[in-house]
Symmetry: C2
Subunit: 144 residues, 2 copies
Protein backbone atom coordinates (compact mmCIF):
# COMPACT_ATOMS: atom_id res chain seq x y z
CA UNK A 1 0.00 0.00 0.00
CA UNK A 2 2.83 2.39 -0.75
CA UNK A 3 2.94 5.44 -2.98
CA UNK A 4 6.03 5.30 -5.18
CA UNK A 5 8.80 7.87 -5.08
CA UNK A 6 7.67 9.02 -8.51
CA UNK A 7 4.33 10.09 -7.07
CA UNK A 8 5.88 11.68 -4.00
CA UNK A 9 8.61 13.43 -5.95
CA UNK A 10 6.10 14.71 -8.49
CA UNK A 11 4.09 16.26 -5.69
CA UNK A 12 7.14 17.94 -4.19
CA UNK A 13 8.18 19.12 -7.63
CA UNK A 14 4.79 20.68 -8.30
CA UNK A 15 4.75 22.17 -4.83
CA UNK A 16 8.19 23.67 -5.44
CA UNK A 17 6.90 25.26 -8.63
CA UNK A 18 3.82 26.51 -6.78
CA UNK A 19 5.87 28.07 -3.99
CA UNK A 20 8.19 29.71 -6.50
CA UNK A 21 5.37 30.70 -8.80
CA UNK A 22 6.71 34.14 -9.71
CA UNK A 23 6.24 33.99 -13.46
CA UNK A 24 9.85 33.07 -14.11
CA UNK A 25 10.87 29.74 -15.59
CA UNK A 26 12.58 27.50 -13.08
CA UNK A 27 15.20 24.99 -14.23
CA UNK A 28 15.06 21.44 -12.95
CA UNK A 29 18.49 21.93 -11.49
CA UNK A 30 17.17 24.41 -8.89
CA UNK A 31 14.35 22.09 -7.89
CA UNK A 32 16.73 19.16 -7.63
CA UNK A 33 18.95 21.19 -5.31
CA UNK A 34 16.14 22.40 -3.07
CA UNK A 35 14.41 19.03 -2.92
CA UNK A 36 17.59 16.99 -2.73
CA UNK A 37 16.42 14.70 -5.51
CA UNK A 38 18.49 13.44 -8.44
CA UNK A 39 18.26 15.95 -11.30
CA UNK A 40 18.03 13.25 -13.94
CA UNK A 41 15.30 11.41 -12.11
CA UNK A 42 13.33 14.64 -11.78
CA UNK A 43 13.74 15.18 -15.51
CA UNK A 44 11.95 11.92 -16.21
CA UNK A 45 9.19 12.83 -13.84
CA UNK A 46 8.62 16.33 -15.16
CA UNK A 47 8.58 15.01 -18.71
CA UNK A 48 5.44 13.07 -17.82
CA UNK A 49 4.01 16.10 -16.06
CA UNK A 50 4.82 18.29 -19.01
CA UNK A 51 3.19 15.95 -21.51
CA UNK A 52 0.04 16.07 -19.43
CA UNK A 53 0.07 19.84 -19.84
CA UNK A 54 0.46 20.58 -16.14
CA UNK A 55 3.51 22.78 -16.74
CA UNK A 56 4.89 25.05 -19.44
CA UNK A 57 8.49 24.62 -20.50
CA UNK A 58 11.07 26.76 -22.28
CA UNK A 59 14.10 25.08 -23.76
CA UNK A 60 17.60 26.37 -24.01
CA UNK A 61 19.59 28.71 -21.85
CA UNK A 62 17.53 30.58 -19.22
CA UNK A 63 14.81 28.03 -19.79
CA UNK A 64 12.94 25.91 -17.30
CA UNK A 65 9.42 25.13 -16.13
CA UNK A 66 6.47 26.90 -14.57
CA UNK A 67 2.94 25.90 -13.62
CA UNK A 68 0.53 26.11 -16.53
CA UNK A 69 -2.29 27.07 -14.16
CA UNK A 70 -2.60 28.63 -10.71
CA UNK A 71 -1.91 26.36 -7.71
CA UNK A 72 -5.64 26.23 -6.95
CA UNK A 73 -6.14 24.30 -10.17
CA UNK A 74 -4.11 21.27 -9.11
CA UNK A 75 -5.34 18.69 -6.65
CA UNK A 76 -3.01 16.20 -5.05
CA UNK A 77 -5.12 13.50 -6.67
CA UNK A 78 -4.46 14.82 -10.18
CA UNK A 79 -0.73 14.71 -9.63
CA UNK A 80 -0.64 11.31 -7.95
CA UNK A 81 -2.87 9.72 -10.59
CA UNK A 82 -0.64 11.03 -13.33
CA UNK A 83 2.33 9.16 -11.90
CA UNK A 84 0.68 6.19 -10.22
CA UNK A 85 -2.39 5.50 -12.30
CA UNK A 86 -5.69 4.91 -10.55
CA UNK A 87 -5.51 5.01 -6.77
CA UNK A 88 -7.14 1.60 -6.40
CA UNK A 89 -5.88 -1.00 -3.95
CA UNK A 90 -6.75 -3.70 -6.51
CA UNK A 91 -6.74 -3.80 -10.30
CA UNK A 92 -10.22 -5.26 -10.68
CA UNK A 93 -11.82 -1.94 -9.75
CA UNK A 94 -10.42 -0.35 -12.88
CA UNK A 95 -10.58 -3.28 -15.26
CA UNK A 96 -14.18 -4.46 -15.49
CA UNK A 97 -14.33 -8.11 -16.47
CA UNK A 98 -10.80 -8.82 -15.29
CA UNK A 99 -12.11 -11.12 -12.55
CA UNK A 100 -14.74 -13.76 -13.13
CA UNK A 101 -15.51 -13.91 -9.43
CA UNK A 102 -16.59 -10.28 -9.32
CA UNK A 103 -20.35 -10.96 -9.08
CA UNK A 104 -20.07 -13.13 -5.99
CA UNK A 105 -17.05 -11.38 -4.47
CA UNK A 106 -17.59 -9.72 -1.11
CA UNK A 107 -14.11 -8.29 -0.70
CA UNK A 108 -14.46 -5.97 -3.69
CA UNK A 109 -16.76 -3.80 -1.59
CA UNK A 110 -13.87 -3.23 0.81
CA UNK A 111 -11.49 -2.24 -1.96
CA UNK A 112 -14.11 0.13 -3.32
CA UNK A 113 -14.48 1.78 0.07
CA UNK A 114 -10.72 2.14 0.43
CA UNK A 115 -10.43 3.72 -2.99
CA UNK A 116 -13.25 6.16 -2.19
CA UNK A 117 -11.67 7.08 1.13
CA UNK A 118 -8.29 7.76 -0.44
CA UNK A 119 -9.81 9.80 -3.26
CA UNK A 120 -11.83 11.83 -0.79
CA UNK A 121 -8.56 12.94 0.78
CA UNK A 122 -6.40 13.63 -2.26
CA UNK A 123 -9.09 15.21 -4.42
CA UNK A 124 -9.84 17.80 -1.75
CA UNK A 125 -6.34 19.16 -1.25
CA UNK A 126 -4.87 21.57 -3.80
CA UNK A 127 -1.36 22.87 -4.28
CA UNK A 128 -2.64 26.20 -2.95
CA UNK A 129 -3.56 24.51 0.33
CA UNK A 130 -0.06 23.07 0.55
CA UNK A 131 1.59 26.40 -0.20
CA UNK A 132 -0.49 27.90 2.61
CA UNK A 133 0.50 25.30 5.16
CA UNK A 134 4.06 25.56 3.95
CA UNK A 135 4.17 29.20 4.98
CA UNK A 136 2.25 28.53 8.17
CA UNK A 137 5.01 26.14 9.13
CA UNK A 138 7.39 29.09 9.02
CA UNK A 139 9.12 28.04 5.86
CA UNK A 140 10.29 30.49 3.23
CA UNK A 141 11.12 30.18 -0.47
CA UNK A 142 14.77 29.66 0.28
CA UNK A 143 14.30 26.82 2.69
CA UNK A 144 12.30 23.96 1.38
Amino acid sequence: MKISTKGRYALRLMLDLAINNTGEYIPIKRIAERQEISEKYLEQIITQISRAGFVRSVRGSQGGYQLANPPEAYTVGMILRLMEGELSPVACLDEPGSCDRADRCVTVDIWRQIKDAVENVVDNITLADLVKSYHEKGNCEYFI
Copy 2:
Protein backbone atom coordinates in the same frame (compact mmCIF):
# COMPACT_ATOMS: atom_id res chain seq x y z
CA MET B 1 -1.04 1.92 -3.97
CA LYS B 2 -1.79 -1.74 -4.40
CA ILE B 3 -2.52 -4.41 -1.84
CA SER B 4 -0.46 -7.51 -2.57
CA THR B 5 -1.93 -10.88 -3.44
CA LYS B 6 -0.71 -12.12 -0.05
CA GLY B 7 -2.99 -9.65 1.69
CA ARG B 8 -5.93 -10.37 -0.57
CA TYR B 9 -5.48 -14.12 -0.46
CA ALA B 10 -5.14 -14.04 3.32
CA LEU B 11 -8.45 -12.25 3.57
CA ARG B 12 -10.17 -14.76 1.29
CA LEU B 13 -8.60 -17.60 3.23
CA MET B 14 -9.85 -16.26 6.55
CA LEU B 15 -13.25 -15.56 5.02
CA ASP B 16 -13.38 -19.13 3.74
CA LEU B 17 -12.65 -20.39 7.24
CA ALA B 18 -15.29 -18.05 8.65
CA ILE B 19 -17.94 -19.22 6.22
CA ASN B 20 -17.11 -22.85 6.93
CA ASN B 21 -16.78 -22.28 10.64
CA THR B 22 -18.46 -25.52 11.73
CA GLY B 23 -15.94 -26.67 14.30
CA GLU B 24 -14.25 -29.07 11.92
CA TYR B 25 -10.69 -28.63 10.79
CA ILE B 26 -10.41 -27.60 7.17
CA PRO B 27 -7.41 -28.64 5.09
CA ILE B 28 -5.66 -26.06 2.92
CA LYS B 29 -6.42 -28.24 -0.07
CA ARG B 30 -10.17 -27.51 0.21
CA ILE B 31 -9.60 -23.78 0.51
CA ALA B 32 -7.23 -23.83 -2.44
CA GLU B 33 -9.89 -25.57 -4.52
CA ARG B 34 -12.70 -23.24 -3.54
CA GLN B 35 -10.63 -20.09 -3.88
CA GLU B 36 -8.72 -21.25 -6.96
CA ILE B 37 -5.41 -20.32 -5.39
CA SER B 38 -2.20 -22.38 -5.45
CA GLU B 39 -2.20 -24.77 -2.50
CA LYS B 40 1.49 -24.26 -1.81
CA TYR B 41 1.17 -20.50 -1.90
CA LEU B 42 -1.74 -20.66 0.55
CA GLU B 43 0.40 -22.83 2.81
CA GLN B 44 2.96 -20.06 3.08
CA ILE B 45 0.28 -17.53 3.83
CA ILE B 46 -1.51 -19.56 6.48
CA THR B 47 1.80 -20.30 8.17
CA GLN B 48 2.11 -16.58 8.91
CA ILE B 49 -1.50 -16.44 10.01
CA SER B 50 -1.03 -19.45 12.21
CA ARG B 51 2.07 -18.04 13.89
CA ALA B 52 0.07 -14.94 14.74
CA GLY B 53 -2.40 -17.18 16.52
CA PHE B 54 -5.33 -16.32 14.29
CA VAL B 55 -6.03 -19.97 13.52
CA ARG B 56 -5.69 -23.35 15.23
CA SER B 57 -4.09 -26.20 13.31
CA VAL B 58 -4.05 -29.97 13.57
CA ARG B 59 -1.35 -31.87 11.78
CA GLY B 60 -1.53 -35.23 10.11
CA SER B 61 -4.36 -37.01 8.36
CA GLN B 62 -7.79 -35.42 8.90
CA GLY B 63 -6.00 -32.31 10.05
CA GLY B 64 -6.40 -28.75 8.89
CA TYR B 65 -7.19 -25.29 10.17
CA GLN B 66 -10.00 -23.46 11.91
CA LEU B 67 -10.45 -19.94 13.26
CA ALA B 68 -9.08 -19.52 16.77
CA ASN B 69 -11.82 -16.98 17.55
CA PRO B 70 -15.31 -16.18 16.26
CA PRO B 71 -15.52 -14.19 13.00
CA GLU B 72 -16.53 -11.07 14.93
CA ALA B 73 -13.07 -11.02 16.49
CA TYR B 74 -11.22 -10.41 13.21
CA THR B 75 -11.17 -7.09 11.44
CA VAL B 76 -10.02 -6.78 7.86
CA GLY B 77 -7.32 -4.44 9.14
CA MET B 78 -5.86 -7.10 11.45
CA ILE B 79 -5.52 -9.53 8.58
CA LEU B 80 -4.12 -7.06 6.06
CA ARG B 81 -1.60 -5.66 8.54
CA LEU B 82 -0.38 -9.15 9.31
CA MET B 83 0.55 -9.71 5.67
CA GLU B 84 1.33 -6.17 4.49
CA GLY B 85 2.69 -4.44 7.54
CA GLU B 86 1.42 -0.96 8.39
CA LEU B 87 -1.12 0.43 5.96
CA SER B 88 0.82 3.64 5.42
CA PRO B 89 1.30 5.15 1.97
CA VAL B 90 4.82 6.21 3.01
CA ALA B 91 7.41 4.67 5.32
CA CYS B 92 8.15 7.86 7.26
CA LEU B 93 4.83 7.59 9.11
CA ASP B 94 5.99 4.40 10.79
CA GLU B 95 9.68 5.15 11.17
CA PRO B 96 10.10 8.31 13.20
CA GLY B 97 13.38 10.02 12.41
CA SER B 98 13.68 8.31 9.04
CA CYS B 99 13.33 11.64 7.22
CA ASP B 100 15.23 14.75 8.23
CA ARG B 101 12.75 16.94 6.36
CA ALA B 102 9.86 15.80 8.54
CA ASP B 103 9.58 19.00 10.58
CA ARG B 104 9.15 21.27 7.58
CA CYS B 105 7.38 18.74 5.35
CA VAL B 106 3.84 19.63 4.31
CA THR B 107 3.09 16.47 2.36
CA VAL B 108 3.33 14.24 5.41
CA ASP B 109 -0.04 15.60 6.54
CA ILE B 110 -1.56 14.18 3.37
CA TRP B 111 -0.05 10.76 3.91
CA ARG B 112 -1.31 10.80 7.49
CA GLN B 113 -4.83 11.58 6.31
CA ILE B 114 -4.69 8.80 3.74
CA LYS B 115 -3.53 6.30 6.33
CA ASP B 116 -6.30 7.35 8.72
CA ALA B 117 -8.91 7.09 5.98
CA VAL B 118 -7.81 3.59 5.00
CA GLU B 119 -7.67 2.42 8.59
CA ASN B 120 -11.11 3.80 9.25
CA VAL B 121 -12.42 1.47 6.56
CA VAL B 122 -10.55 -1.74 7.30
CA ASP B 123 -10.72 -1.53 11.09
CA ASN B 124 -14.50 -1.29 11.01
CA ILE B 125 -15.25 -4.37 8.93
CA THR B 126 -15.08 -7.81 10.54
CA LEU B 127 -15.13 -11.27 9.04
CA ALA B 128 -18.66 -11.58 10.45
CA ASP B 129 -19.74 -8.62 8.31
CA LEU B 130 -18.25 -10.30 5.26
CA VAL B 131 -19.94 -13.62 6.01
CA LYS B 132 -23.24 -11.74 6.26
CA SER B 133 -22.85 -9.98 2.93
CA TYR B 134 -21.65 -13.25 1.43
CA HIS B 135 -24.98 -14.85 2.22
CA GLU B 136 -26.90 -11.75 1.23
CA LYS B 137 -25.33 -12.06 -2.20
CA GLY B 138 -27.04 -15.43 -2.49
CA ASN B 139 -23.87 -17.46 -2.10
CA CYS B 140 -23.75 -20.73 -0.22
CA GLU B 141 -20.97 -22.72 1.45
CA TYR B 142 -20.41 -24.81 -1.64
CA PHE B 143 -19.98 -21.92 -3.99
CA ILE B 144 -17.36 -19.42 -3.02
